[in-house]
């Protein structure tokens, strides 16, 4: 049983990852539809399986990962204890004492073969969130630095971010925290080498054509360019996690005075949402 469930090692080059741009045009890797190389299934630790749909970020692979997770949840396999997605992969945690690794692997492969996952639609019930955001000032001190790295004036950087309708590619790292993509090519800027020790909850941080909107206060290597009062993790609310993969977000510029006034607005911090059709 061992040979076909050996883990797979994959090499990703940093330069390739950083220069990759997800576009709405046809991605180069992977091509639409399944190829002989993708998707790949690998064990992850004692009780995990990872299904990888690509080795770089692309919209079809992102949609495939999201759709495959939904399919696994719907399949209701008794051994599966928990599932999640990353940018282009789906993860299953299961009980190998109840279902052998080889058997779980086979179930996953059978489900994988049942359709073209790269063709999957985005999740249903997606929402568009408009989030009031202070760009720059002492609330978000790295706007100028990020703009300079992007080769843009501060005004142009804010305009480009504000005009881009970003999509939640994955939720992860911290509870309810979205990775949003993608920004215009100018924002293909690397993470800084040093960590900023404390960037607050609600921060809009930028790197590699993505934005992360922080759900907790945390150290980071991403640049702090905006600040919101949008609370993404509300443990005692009926909907503890506000954003879902596939949701879209626009960061709408406001003044520090408006930001101050939004303190009274509760956990949405002035954010509004509408259902995307």
């Amino acid at each position: 049983m061992a040979s076909h469930i050996r883990h797979l090692g994959l090499v990703f080059r940093l330069d390739r990852w950083q220069s990759y741009g997800m576009t709405n045009a046809q991605p180069t890797s992977p091509p639409q539809g399944q190829t002989s190389d993708w998707p790949q299934v690998a064990t992850a630790g004692f009780d995990g399986l990872v299904v990888r749909f690509a080795d770089t970020l692309s919209e079809p692979a992102n949609r495939a990962a999201l759709a495959f997770r939904v399919a696994v949840e719907r399949a209701g396999w008794s051994a599966v204890q928990e599932t999640s997605t990353s940018l282009v992969s789906t993860y299953l945690r299961f009980d190998p004492l109840g279902t052998a690794h080889a058997e779980m692997m086979q179930q996953v492969k059978t489900l994988l073969a049942s359709r073209d996952w790269y063709d999957a639609a985005l999740p249903e019930g997606r929402k568009l969130w408009r989030v009031p955001t202070v760009f720059g000032t002492d609330l978000a001190p790295q706007l100028a630095e990020a703009a300079e790295r992007a080769g843009l004036t501060v005004e142009e950087a804010v305009r480009q971010i504000a005009e881009t309708q970003l999509r939640v590619q994955t939720i992860g790292f911290a509870p309810g925290q979205p990775y949003l993509g993608e920004l215009p090519p100018a924002f293909d800027i690397p993470r800084q080498t040093d960590l900023t020790p404390q960037v607050p909850e609600g921060a809009v941080v930028v790197a590699i054509r993505q934005i992360v909107l922080f759900s907790v206060t945390t150290p980071t290597g991403w640049r702090h360019t905006g600040q919101t009062r949008f609370r993404l993790f509300r443990p005692d609310a009926p909907e503890p996690f506000v954003l879902r993969p596939g949701d879209e977000v626009r960061f709408e510029p406001i003044s520090p005075e408006t930001y101050a006034a939004l303190e009274r607005d509760g956990p949405d911090g002035g954010a509004t949402c509408e259902v995307l059709s």
Binding site: M1, A2, I5, R6, H7, L8, G9, L10, V11, F12, R13, L14, D15, W17, A42, T43, A44, G45, F46, D47, G48, V50, R52, D55, T56, L57, R69, Q81, E82, T83, S84, T85, S86, L87, V88, S89, Y91, R93, P96, L97, A100, H101, T170, I171, G172, F173, A174, P175, G176, Q177, S215, V216, F233, P235, D236, P240, F241
Partner: protein, 341 residues
């Protein structure tokens, strides 16, 4: 009236813990729960109750506790000095009756890192997202503070004065690991060296991860290599940019971009959690088939915990008030012990 536990003094690392919460990984919330899960099962066995009840995890230092009504307690994990205000000392890895109004003082760890105070009926705070455990990294709950009062759940009035010889796990040792997502990236030579060298548990360690310093060179991958952020899980051995491995623990983040050289078996994680700074570790790679066998045995050991209980032999010299000890409680180990054994 609800029974309560009051913390007159709380050490700096006290939190409410259980076996954590499943099902929120996709939302960025890791399972969390007790750093030493085995200690939770031992506490449950000592009190004859379900393992999903919440207990107090004490990192490094205990506190001063008082209950509003007589309450069964059990002490597990890293041993700490525990005594009542009448001078009676309480043995670790055992169950006791804590009389109402008595002050229980739990001091610093004598070995290991995480001690646990379990109560008959468990701590009965409201569940949040399906569990009571504090998830410090996510701000889900908070550390316990001086003056906190917590509700205690209904107890079945079971036995006390039972003891358990815990599985040794406080001093490091050999950790069994299985391959993880990037094991092959490191190459056979580095993987062999990883299993040859000895590691020292660093001072940097918490509920998210434990840093292990290798004797000799680190295990950094060749320059320019990186991995696309993927799911991470407790047990994964992440190698950071400078080549130092971290073993991820219960409150780890849910995704990460550092390569993982392997993943420690779940049943070995209590040893990672309990090691103090300076403890020595080594790793050995096992196949998934061996891992299944090892985990199956560990699961069977958990089931056998109740059968390993034995009556606590008390040293009369350590009991200041022998008479009241038996009368106040109204609980004797007699029949209950027969049931338990």
């Amino acid at each position: 009236m609800t029974r309560t536990l009051t913390l007159h003094r709380a050490g700096p690392g006290l939190s409410l813990q259980d076996l954590g919460r499943s099902g929120y990984l996709a939302f960025g919330l890791s399972r969390g729960g007790a750093a030493d899960r085995l200690a939770v099962f031992e506490g449950a066995a000592l009190l004859g109750q379900a393992p999903d009840l919440a207990a107090i995890e004490m990192a490094g230092m205990g506190g001063v506790f008082e209950v509003s009504q007589d309450t069964r307690i059990a002490l597990t994990g890293a041993p700490m000095r525990a005594a009542l205000d009448d001078g009676t000392s309480l043995r670790w890895n055992a169950s006791h009756l804590l009389p109402a109004g008595a002050q229980l003082t739990i001091g610093a760890v004598q070995a290991g890192s995480y001690g646990y105070l379990h109560l008959g009926g468990g701590i009965a705070t409201e569940c949040r997202l399906g569990a009571r455990s504090t998830h410090l990294a996510s701000g889900l709950g908070a550390r316990l503070q001086d003056g906190d009062t917590l509700p205690i759940g209904h107890d079945t009035d079971g036995a006390v004065n039972l003891a358990l010889e815990p599985e040794p796990r406080l001093d490091g040792g050999t950790l069994r690991m299985v391959p993880s997502l990037q094991t092959d990236l490191f190459g056979a030579t580095e993987l062999a060296r990883f299993q040859d060298v000895t590691f020292t548990r660093d001072t940097r360690a918490n509920r998210m991860g434990v840093r292990l310093l290798p004797d000799g060179d680190g295990f950094a991958l060749d320059g320019g290599l990186s991995v696309l952020s993927e799911v991470i899980a407790p047990g994964d051995i992440q190698v950071t940019g400078d080549g130092t491995p971290y073993v991820l623990m219960s409150e780890c983040q849910t995704t990460g971009g550092y390569p993982r050289i392997g993943s420690v078996l779940p049943s070995d994680l209590p040893r990672v959690a309990q090691a103090q700074a300076g403890a020595r570790f080594s790793f050995t790679l096992v196949s998934l088939e061996e891992a299944v066998e090892l985990e199956r045995r560990a699961a069977e050991d958990l089931k056998r915990l109740p059968a390993r209980l034995h009556p606590l032999l008390r040293d009369p010299a350590s009991m200041r008030d022998l008479l009241s000890y038996q009368l106040v409680s109204g609980v004797t180990a007699g029949r209950d012990l027969d049931d338990a054994l």
